[in-house]
Structure formats: structure tokens, C-alpha cells
Symmetry: C2
Subunit: 147 residues, 2 copies
Amino acid sequence: MRIANRFAIAVHIISLLETDENGEATSEWMAGSIGTNPVIVRRISGMLRRAGLLRTRQGVAGAEIERPLSEITLLDVYRAVNEEGELFSVHPRPNPLCEVGANIQDTLEEVFGEAQEAMENRLKGTTMLDVVQDLRVRAREKESAGV
Amino acid sequence: MRIANRFAIAVHIISLLETDENGEATSEWMAGSIGTNPVIVRRISGMLRRAGLLRTRQGVAGAEIERPLSEITLLDVYRAVNEEGELFSVHPRPNPLCEVGANIQDTLEEVFGEAQEAMENRLKGTTMLDVVQDLRVRAREKESAGV
DNA sequence: GCTCTTGTAACCATTCCAATTACAAGAGCG
DNA sequence: CGCTCTTGTAATTGGAATGGTTACAAGAGC
């Protein structure tokens, strides 16, 4: 089971908006860079807007990023496109008459919660500014490697 | 998107086998404690067997745990029931002619890999022995609370 | 041989997701 | 105003993963 493509696409969208200066980043154009459908871009942009990360206007191409990139962490983006809070799930109906079944949910929720927290803390440690800078470094490396 | 119930069920199965002494842990009985179907138990037991965590014999109830519980981490169990290695997925066809599209996969794979690693390291830090002991502590607490 | 059990295939229903079509509505320009 | 481009969103489709279930072959042991 995997985290949906939406997360990566959302990061891609914000990265594209950052380098867009003239409001030329239409959903169609972004879809071309991402390799998907314009409706997917608009749908995910809507999630980012509802999470307070973007401001969009119907009928107007492009979007404004609501916060400095250094204040948008990957965890913010992750949560914007994953309404489901729990990464792990525990079977819902263990038998309360069995010593294991009666306690397994509490035991697992604790350690599962900590594992999810570890993952989220790592995401929190990277901002969209880091991502955009890394993209530029990689682009420069390719260029100097002679392409 | 969530990690399948299988992971929690697998932990549950091993916990039940640990307290089973007389080979009475049939898949039917375990299914009763878990709140699922005997076939699910056998299917997940098979994954644990193929991962080298259990030894089962067709026709014989119960299973032997192949290693001391202190040497089975939750990461071992997690990997046994999740053949899919990558937690995060990146959209597969970004446009190589776009500076963002050309580099986003590498950028994301790096940070996504680290986030997954953080989660897995937390799972690695808990063994099945910890789980079983925690289950016993919780059972004792409930008992002394007067049930 | 009889019965219990496991291992596994096959099938179904549900859920989640990406892709797509369709269309209402806003923006801006002539 | 009318035309065109764009966004926002609903609806539908197809595919994949998952859990549940039935069915049955085969091993174990009395």
C-alpha cells in the first residue's frame, strides 16, 4: 500500500508555481509537466487551496502561494492531500474475551502512532524552499555535465 | 491511504502463537480472537512463513515461531506482509523538457526515502517481545482495576 | 478410514485512485 | 455585450488492492 501520487503531484504543482512569474501556469500547462490530466491538477490545487497553501481564482490562470516557501513543509503538503489521518490501521473487532484481543488495539495504536510520527517529523524537516533549491541544483549539475 | 490490516493481524497472530502452548491455536480459533476469517489467518500465516518467521505444517494446528521474540522486530513483520517496498509513490511520467519535471523524481525519491526510513527505524525499535510484554502489562492493569 | 486441519485457488464486494468527459461560472479583451 | 480562455466540480469509468467467503486438495493423527 502506497501514499497516493497526489502528494508528489502537489509538490510538483507548488514547484511549478514558484517559477511561474506571469501567471502562465495554467492547469493544462502544469499537467504537461507532470504527465497527467488538467483536471487532476485543478483537483489537487483545490486541496492545496482548502488547506490554505494557495490562493486561486476561478477563470484566472496560475495561483499565488500563500506563504513563503520556507514556511511550507512537506508535512503541510502531505496533510493537505491526505485527509485520512492514520497511516496504519488496526483490525476493528478483536475479541475482548481474549487477553490478546482485548489489548492489542491499544498496544498497536501506540507504536503505530510513533512510527507515523517519525515519518511525519522527517517530512516536517524539509520545506518547499529546500525542494525548489534542490531542483535547481540538480538542473545546474545536469547542465554543467553537458546536456 | 493506509497500511493494510494485514500488518496488525500478523502481529496479533504471532502474539497468539506465543501464548499458545499445546498447539491449540487453530486458524479458526485465532480468527475468533482477531475478528476475521480463518482463511485470512492462514493467508497471513503463509506470508510470515515465507518470510522465515514461522514454521507451519499442513494439517497440524498451531505454528512454531522460528526466532526468539526478542529477535523479531515489527519491521520484520511489516516487511513480511507488505511486498510493496515503497511507501510513497512519485508520478511516473514527468516531462523531461521542463526543469521541474526533469528533476522532481530524484528530489522526491530522496526525501521520501528518508521519511520511509524514519518510519521503518521506529518499527525496528520494537520487538515482538516488547509487544507481548506490553499486552501482559495492559491485561494486568485491567485486572487490578477490578474487572 | 474418518475427522480435523492447513494451503491455496477462485470469486465477489468494497474502497481508493487516476483519468476522462462534461458543464457551469468567472475573467478579460475586442 | 459576445467571444474565448480558464477554473471548479460533478459524474463516470477502469484498474488495483483488500478483506471476506466458498471450495477443495492434501497432510496428520487417531
